[in-house]
């Protein structure tokens, strides 16, 4: 019988939640790396026992951990992220030039086919690759050297490369997103990159239609339809049907189009999920009601999902990497909150229940479906 393994990164450690295909009873393992910020954990699609984890702290910097037994035991691997060449400068908050400085790894994306190959999205924004299981890391400098780099500037959370999407139909194509620079695509395996921000409109930047500078919070793709992308922006939910060449807004009847997380149903490429947050200055659900919104039409028409979620006095946030789906039938949807709850819906969002309620603030949630 299939089972699921949910990898949860929190402000104070990592947790591994496991259940069978019914997703009713859960085993909770952790905290692993207690006291450390765990920005992201993700398993290899080609070897589910291989899991990579980003462990960091304000005191001790960055550590990368690797498990080869499904999260039971871990070993530190390489943590040296050195920019290629002279890294140059980007904009600082006051508009001055600021040198690129490594701070932390936000996102780890294992290769779809090789468990020893994994990509890392880091702050200050750059993408690195390891081909030896995380022991050593090399930058793909074409992104940072694209030409617009000196104009990138950090958002409130830092200048982080937080999204990496590998195209299952084309190993040379990848997508990344940087807060607050925007989205980029490579079609040659990471050598060269182009911004893919046409159609985005951001009133808070000098040129609302600029080629870079948009605050992209997260991007999602269904593996069966890799040319269609969905984006949760600082404001606006967006869709592209041509690999990011152009985007159009699909916020439709959402009560607010601000949010962080967005994901796609594992079997229905037109079914997507977001968690609307009241505003960019009030990072909590509207009216204290925690609601996932689902569109079954690829956007524009949205329905609130409330069954099992707190509908009063709830003021948590759901961060960009804190939502995931499993591959079971029916599709399970998961998200974690800054209040330390991890919710599961085993019926594609119709009903929800907490797996666990009192973890530290959740930074990331990933799900492995294991045969």
């Amino acid at each position: 019988m299939s089972k699921v393994r949910v990898l949860v990164g929190t402000r104070k450690g990592a947790f591994v939640l496991t259940s069978d295909g019914k997703r009713e009873k859960w085993n909770i393992s952790g905290p692993h790396f207690a006291g450390w910020e765990m920005y992201h954990l993700k398993g290899s699609p080609s070897d589910p026992n291989r899991i990579y984890a980003s462990q960091s702290s304000g005191w001790f910097g960055q550590v990368i951990q690797r498990s080869d037994d499904g999260g039971q035991t871990w070993s530190p691997v390489g943590n040296k992220f050195a920019y290629e060449g002279v890294p140059g400068t980007h904009q600082w908050y006051d508009g001055t030039a600021h040198p690129w400085e490594f701070k932390r790894v936000w996102h780890l994306e294992p290769s779809l086919t090789d468990p020893d190959t994994v990509y890392a999205g880091i702050e200050d924004a750059a993408i690195f690759r390891s081909t030896d299981g995380g022991q050593s890391w090399s930058e793909l400098p074409g992104l940072r050297e694209h030409g617009s780099g000196p104009r990138w500037q950090p958002g409130a959370g830092g200048m982080c490369l937080h999204t990496i999407i590998l195209d299952p139909s084309d190993p040379q194509r990848m997508y990344i997103a940087i807060s607050a620079a925007g989205a980029f695509r490579t079609d040659d395996g990471g050598k060269t990159w182009q911004p893919i921000n046409q159609g985005l409109h951001s009133e808070y930047i000098p040129d609302p239609k600029a080629d870079v500078g948009h605050c992209v919070h997260h991007i999602a793709m269904h593996p069966a339809r890799p040319n269609t992308l969905f984006m949760q922006k600082h404001w606006d939910v967006m869709r592209s049907d041509n690999a990011g060449d152009h985007w159009h807004e699909i916020s439709g009847n959402l009560p607010t189009d601000f949010g962080f997380a967005i994901d796609v149903h594992a079997h229905e490429p037109e079914t997507i999920y977001v968690v609307p947050i009241k505003s960019d200055s009030e990072h909590f659900p509207l009216d204290g009601q925690l609601r996932v919104y689902r569109s079954r039409t690829g956007g524009n028409e949205w329905e609130p999902l409330t069954k099992g979620l707190p509908q009063s006095d709830c003021y948590v946030n759901v961060l960009r990497d804190a939502m995931a789906v499993d591959k079971l039938d029916s599709c399970g949807v998961y998200f974690g909150t800054t209040g330390g709850q991890v919710y599961v819906s085993p019926d594609a969002g119709d009903s929800w229940s907490p797996i666990v309620r009192d973890l530290p603030a959740v930074l990331s949630v990933e799900v492995q479906t294991i045969a």
């Binding site: 006291g35 702290s57 304000g58 005191w59 001790f60 910097g61 550590v63 530190p76 943590n79 040296k80």
Partner: protein, 102 residues
Amino acid sequence: MTTNRIRVELPAHLRNLAQVHGEVTLDVAAPITLRSVLDALEATYPMLSGTIRDHTTLQRRPFLRFFACEEDLSHQSPDSPLPEAIATAREPLLIIGAIAGG
């Protein structure tokens, strides 16, 4: 080349990372300085590389301090000799995490 046995006390998180309990002892080639001790520490425990000082700049991480013999050595040159009591292992070099954060 002479070597000295040096005692180093790590913060709890780094003891966990290095999978050690209590003080660590290191054989360090003279001269006994912050640089030579940290070089020996990272050679013995590679998982600590980058956690005490930056990989590239070798600068001390801002929230860490180096104490020895009731002195704060955090701002001294990494090539200055450490006190005799450290070089002779009468006292440990203390690597301390600042009390900060939440």
